[in-house]
Amino acid sequence: MRTLTSRSTLPFAALALTAALLGSACGAPDASESSTARAEAPAVSGASAHAHHSAAELEATEPAGPSLYVLDQAWTDQHGDTVLLSELAGRPRVVAMVYTHCTWACPRILADMKRIEAEFSDLSPERSPGFVLVSIDPARDTPERLAAFAESARLDPSRWTLLTAPDDQVLELSVLLGVKYRAAEGGEFSHSNLLTVLDEHGAVAARVMGLNSDPEPALQALREMTRATSE
């Protein structure tokens, strides 16, 4: 601690501050960075489209790491139904935190997710990855609003889940995922642009940072999780 305020380290500290600040989100594009996917054991999922009871039907695959579904919160989806976080298990999921009034970054996040969805469109809904949008703006993103948004964005309900819950719960999930967000002026939010790929156990299999980033790490992880079958 004593050395931090010495003359010779202050310029270093200033440089560190610059580096940290340049990396922070400000509603403008993030520097493009993709994170590397972790190799994932192939998984066969017998999940239904809504993945309610799939945990019991899982093959004995090893999770890529600790499951995030231990934070078993209760969310409300675009149909007004209660969804426990653990109910997302049994199927790989691509998760993003957005808000429906977002006009700049979120449409791009959605486009990135749809690109991924298209890659697996030949699979039946139960065998394809699921896509999850979690709102960081629960005051305005009510279930009804989410349903209207899903319809206007033409999100296939057998593949897309939109979730809303009170602010404190959103904060908790954001920390678990590593998504930063903050209310800014005029009803806008600054937020990091992150896609998280979770395996069927809820462990992080891949992360894609930034808009229009190369989705290949996510695609690779998802391919391994969905296509390694006996066919």
Partner: protein, 273 residues
């Protein structure tokens, strides 16, 4: 009030003068203080006001408004956290989920309910954000927001605000530099104290806040004209930043290194209510 604490205080009062306290009574006071649940009795009222974060440029910024709240006088102790673990087995280190409490969680405790050599009146450390939140919820409170914590910390020893007060900021830095190593922390309540009655905001441990992860430095309100957007969206003109509140910068930088499951020896917390 916790029965042991009231017994301890009664015993101490009967001793009349500090010099007359029998050693056992002193020990009882310390243990009572340490094991009493941090709660309303251990919190002070912080009145509403404004403070100036590290990225403020002074006169042209109205600062950040903070509503009134209550804040624990000092960080949560080992003894208090032990009480929480006894009541909530899911948070013992042999039970807590890895995603919510990383490998460092209570790593120096010999056992799930055994803090070992750590005296009960030391600040509890090696606790993750999720664990700290769970404790605060259990004790009827919550983690303070970063704005609340920084606002409380900007109060000085004799004044309500140390903003741009070079002497006061130097004192804060000396408390920061004088912190004991993480494996030899002193009891809570024995380092710095400010005019609000809050202790150990600078001289003891780093502390969790509710929104530590959302420290993006964009203006949250229309009145935050002092913020130079160019600084954070590409230009890197660090020279325009006021670094007189160096302690706030160090806290900001430290928070950027944290994740929710981080459990480190110099990082503790206190609750707001």
């Amino acid at each position: 009030m916790h029965p042991r604490l009231s017994l301890a205080i009664t015993t101490a009062l009967l001793g009349l003068t500090p010099a007359a306290f029998p050693a056992a009574a002193q020990q009882a006071v310390r243990e009572g203080f340490a094991t009493a649940r941090s709660g309303e009795a251990g919190a002070v009222f912080v009145p509403a006001g404004r403070y100036y974060p590290l990225y403020s440029t002074g006169a042209d910024s109205a600062g950040i408004a903070v509503e009134a709240f209550r804040l624990d006088v000092r960080p949560v102790t080992v003894g208090e956290f032990l009480s929480f673990l006894r009541a909530t087995p899911a948070w013992r280190k042999d039970a807590a989920a890895e995603a919510l409490a990383g490998p460092g969680y209570l790593s120096r405790w010999p056992g799930p309910l055994d803090p070992g050599a750590a005296p009960l009146d030391r600040p509890v450390t090696e606790v993750s954000w999720f664990a700290a939140r769970a404790y605060c919820r259990w004790s009827g409170g919550r983690l303070p927001t970063t704005d609340e914590w920084e606002y409380a910390a900007q109060a000085g020893e004799t004044t309500r605000s140390t903003f741009r007060d070079a002497t006061a900021n130097q004192r804060v830095l000396r408390w920061l530099q004088g912190r004991a190593p993480a494996d030899a922390l002193p009891p809570v309540g024995t380092t710095d104290q400010n005019v609000l009655g809050l202790r150990d905001l600078h001289g003891l441990v780093w502390e969790w806040t509710a929104d530590f992860n959302n420290q993006m430095l964009t203006g949250a309100g229309r009145d935050d004209r002092g913020l130079d957007r160019g600084l954070f969206c590409a230009s890197g003109s660090v020279g325009t930043t006021d670094l007189s509140n160096y302690a706030a910068f160090l806290r900001w930088a430290h928070r950027t290194s944290l994740e929710g499951a981080t459990s480190s020896p110099g990082l503790g917390f206190r609750c707001a209510r």
